[in-house]
């Protein structure tokens, strides 16, 4: 065998090995020093270099689903109210208008008294309300009843943008909370409406969960009541409130009945107020609201009065909201206005004079409640409620246990395989073991280079790779033995053994890599499983180098030392 060829191979292997080792146990981002060669230095560097998955380092994995059906329902209901108002404003007599939302269909229905005016009414409505064909609403009419239904395609578009909006809001909330190294991503396809959040180090996500899902939908509403100085009109029961509307038990589209928790007497101690059931009353408010939470600029938790342990929220509105609010308050002096939070009226006050952009929500909040509320208000209202569809947490000790058992299992597997190879293939077993160790090092280097995460199933993937990596050597060695048995010289047996086995090795590796690709691309919902697929595929790719190229070089070197008279080979 040509000496130069051998030298060239040796140099390539040496470079790859050194680079691989450096990637795995060398320091990254700083110059190496002598301490890196100590056992403790190696361990520290290794721990730094490998990205551990949440299941190994501890943390939480949350999957949120944006309830877009709620979003679309609300949109349809709002449109129904707006359509009714628009038609009335243009002088049409509207008998009835309502939203119909059931199992994936969203429709606005409106009946006017004169069937001949349907076309005009449609034009009048669509001039003011976005119910045009271009926005995905298809119109139909039968008699005096008009219907707009939202197309499936538009439902998708709207659902997707609601999810995007929710994503941005959750992102800003996470930043405001100050979670370290969070991973936030939209998950699954276009129609899944899912958001994945991973928070390393947080093994009890309860508080974060509440903050993220916090609806905090703030509205300023007009309370239907005789104007001040009469007291604000409220009702003891919901039924009473509904009865006051003379709708025969139905609530008209331009009214809402909301619960109202009266502000407690500030002289009671916090303990008393916490224990006493809050008196709940009901009020009727106008729909839609004067101002929606979207127009909010800032919100802060401030003490009720200096030294108090009760907090209230002071907020200010954006320009657009302030203009609307100023106009309304200017026109409605002495009317009652309510601050509604999550469909519950928190406080009612009458308009003394025109107000532009300041307001308070008093609700006897504790400091924490107040701050949480301000945070969720500041980050904006979620377009739709979210629910958690997956919640996985791993405490740090469980992760450490998993690492320990994973490392132990890997070592045991390695030792068993090494022993077998030594006993069965004797001298050549050492060759296989060198290849196997190099395989491990390069696989880890690959994981680090691609920034892949090592998960518990990933460790299982490493253990499996140990078994599968020696398969290449077994294939080659068995083939060499066969060639030797058939009477070929040793150098030509080695040559033939590698040549024949190589075809098989490529075939088997490609199939396994194909199946791990399937794992990777389909297991979008399970990062743990993806970790497994990545380790397995990487292990097999570097195996081509270690088991074929390196093993072969070792054989070439062995044979070149014996020269042409090579008559025996320990295999």
């Amino acid at each position: 065998m040509k000496k130069r060829n051998l030298l060239q191979r040796a140099i390539i292997i040496a470079i790859v090995t050194v680079v691989g080792l450096y990637i795995v146990v060398g320091p990254h981002g700083r110059r190496p020093h002598l301490a890196d060669l100590k056992w403790s230095g190696i361990k520290a560097n290794l721990a730094n270099n490998i990205h551990l998955g949440l299941d190994l380092r501890g943390g939480s994995h949350l999957v949120m689903r944006v309830k877009v059906e709620d979003y679309l329902k609300r949109l349809t209901e709002d449109s129904a109210v707006a359509a009714q108002n628009a038609a009335k404003d243009s002088g049409f007599e509207v008998k009835e208008a309502h939203a119909e939302t059931a199992s994936g269909s969203y429709r606005v229905l409106m009946t006017i008294s004169d069937a001949t005016k349907v076309k005009d009414a449609r034009d009048a409505v669509q001039k003011k309300v976005d119910l045009s064909d271009n926005s995905g609403w298809s119109f139909s009419a039968s008699g005096a009843t008009m219907a707009w239904s939202l197309s499936g395609a538009q439902q998708k578009v709207l659902g997707d943008s609601a999810t995007d909006q929710a994503y941005k809001i959750i992102d800003s909330r996470i930043n405001a909370i100050g979670v370290a190294e969070p991973t936030l991503q939209r998950r699954g396809g276009q129609n899944s409406h899912e958001i994945l959040l991973q928070m390393p180090g947080i093994s009890d996500p309860e508080h974060v969960k509440q903050l993220l899902a916090g609806q905090s939908h703030l509205e300023l509403v007009h309370v239907i009541s005789p104007p001040s100085p009469q007291p604000a009109q409220n009702y003891m029961t919901k039924e009473e409130a509904i009865a006051s509307l003379n709708g025969g038990g139905n609530i008209p589209a331009n009214r809402r009945v909301l619960p109202y928790t009266e502000r407690e007497d500030l002289t009671t101690t916090p303990e008393q107020s916490a224990n006493a059931p809050k008196p709940k009353k009901w009020v009727v408010v106008e729909s839609p609201a004067i101002i929606d939470g979207i127009d909010l600029r800032t919100a802060q938790a401030v003490q009720d009065r200096a030294g108090s342990d009760k907090y209230q929220i002071s907020f200010s509105l954006k320009k657009s909201g302030a203009d609307k609010f100023g106009a309304w308050t200017g026109a409605n002096v002495n009317e009652y206005m309510g601050v509604a939070l999550n469909d519950e009226v928190k406080s009612i006050a009458y308009i003394k004079s025109q107000i532009f952009d300041q307001g308070e929500i008093s609700g006897n909040f504790t400091k924490e409640q107040g701050e949480d509320l301000a945070l969720t208000l500041r980050s904006g209202a979620l377009p739709a409620p979210i629910e958690y569809s997956e919640e996985r947490t791993v405490g740090p000790s469980l992760g450490a246990d998993s690492i320990r058992s994973g490392v132990r299992a890997s070592l045991l597997g390695l030792v068993l395989v090494v022993l077998f190879m030594l006993v069965y293939y004797r001298g050549s077993g050492i060759n296989a073991i060198i290849a196997l160790l190099l395989n491990m090092v390069l696989m880890l280097a690959g994981l680090i280079m691609f920034g892949a995460t090592l998960t518990l199933p990933g460790i299982a993937g490493i253990i499996l790779t140990i078994g599968m990596a020696v398969d290449s050597n077994v294939l080659i060695f068995e083939r060499i033995r066969e060639e030797m048995r058939s009477g070929k010289t040793i150098p030509s047996s080695v040559e033939q053994g590698f040549a024949h086995a190589f075809v098989t090795i490529i075939d088997t590796h490609v199939t396994t890599i194909v199946s791990s690709m399937f794992l990777y691309f389909f297991a979008t919902g399970a990062p743990m499983i993806r970790g497994f697929a990545v380790t397995l595929a990487l292990g097999l790719i570097v195996n081509l180098f270690s088991a074929v190229y390196v093993s072969r070089t070792i054989f070439i070197w062995l044979l070149s030392r014996k020269g042409r008279r090579a008559e025996s080979l320990s295999i």
Binding site: D55, K209, D343, V394, R408, L416, S515, F518, M528, I529
Partner: protein
């Protein structure tokens, strides 16, 4: 030289009736058990013991400094308002328990307007269990980890898992068909599918939990098992060029025998690694390692006993139908000529076999 199999001349194909019969019996046993459990639910079991990933619900791993008895723990959990909890002590770590709570259904909707932010996705079982554990004294009990999956998410994962497995099988079929022939691909895939079914059957019989990692294990098996078949098919392809006069039946037997020591050694080595995983891998990975363990045993068996016979039977049928088609074969001379270079034509083979 230490050798496992020396000059073996086993007539594997001759025993095909026995092997195929055994395979069918194994598959029927597993599937029968699954059906029986699905229909009659003996002892409250179901066809498969699905984990939270596929069924929804919550699993909490808790560790106690002074572990209570399972009964005491159960009553504490019931007091906290969680029903149907399954409590399972962790075998290899004392003081640790797995508490499994099935999906509790929608949380009480008494005042929906009061709590619009209430999650109806995953159950609030974790916080309830947390309260139950607090009753055992401050600092005594600790929640190590939780897995909670909602009903919707779990059914999505279930669909995804089935889709991945089938897609992987089709991927294999296409790849082998591309490298070899359709019949080879189909036989390998049938053999693999059989292994998957037998493994699932064993999971049903022994009610081992099926979770996401088990699906990963099954997919690994698919790859691993097809590997074994490919090694044999590669050898068949090579031998058919070497021994033109030998029948496909004999070539297949010869190839299986020639690669037998590789098959057994490799499977044995992977088996050793997996055994160490079963022993030391911990409770989390146990279903995964068990799936691999069973799969590797049956995977090795089915490449030898199932893939070969099916392939030979199929090729024979094709050959006889090609011969029956008679003159039609010569209508495609180019195709035939091409085939003659790589592989002897099926008609020719069939003739040889006579």
């Amino acid at each position: 030289m230490f050798r496992l199999f020396h000059e073996v001349k086993i007539d594997w194909l001759g025993k095909r009736r026995f092997f195929i019969g055994l395979s069918i019996v194994l598959m029927l046993a597993g599937m029968g058990t699954a059906l029986y459990r699905h229909r009659f639910h003996p002892n409250g079991t179901d066809a498969f013991n699905l984990g939270v990933d596929f069924k929804g619900g919550t699993v909490v791993t808790a560790r106690f400094k002074q572990p209570p008895s399972v009964e005491v723990l159960r009553s504490a959990i019931q007091t906290a308002g969680v029903s149907d909890a399954v409590i399972q002590p962790v075998l290899d770590r004392s003081g640790e328990f797995l508490i499994k709570v099935p999906q509790q259904g929608p949380a009480s909707q008494s005042a929906p307007s009061q709590a619009p932010a209430q999650t109806v996705g995953v159950d609030p079982a974790r916080s309830k269990l947390g309260q139950a554990l607090k009753t055992f004294g401050e600092g005594n009990a600790e929640i190590l980890g939780t897995d909670a999956v909602s009903a919707v998410a779990s059914s999505q994962l279930r669909t995804q898992a089935i889709a991945v497995t089938i897609a992987a099988l089709i991927g294999m079929l296409l790849f082998i068909a591309f490298r070899f022939e359709w019949t080879y691909g189909a036989s390998a895939v049938i053999a693999v599918f059989h292994t998957v079914l037998v493994t699932l059957g064993l999971f049903s019989i022994f009610q081992v939990e099926i979770n996401l990692t088990v699906i990963a294990a099954l997919l690994t098996l698919v790859g691993f098992d097809v590997n074994d078949s490919i090694v044999i098919f590669d050898r068949i392809r090579e031998n058919r060029k070497l021994y033109r006069r030998m029948s496909l039946y004999d070539v297949t037997n010869l190839s299986i025998n020639q690669t037998l020591s590789r098959t057994v050694i490799t499977s044995g080595l992977v088996f050793l690694s997996v055994v160490s995983l079963v022993i030391l891998g911990g409770e989390t990975l146990r279903p995964f390692s068990l799936a691999l363990l069973m799969g590797i045993l049956f995977g090795t068996y089915d490449t030898i006993a199932v893939a070969g016979p099916i392939m030979v039977w199929w090729e024979k049928r094709l050959a006889s139908s090609e011969r029956a088609a008679g003159a039609k074969v010569s209508a495609g001379p180019a195709r035939n000529a091409q085939r003659a270079v790589g592989k002897p034509s099926r008609a020719a083979l069939a003739r040889e076999q006579k």
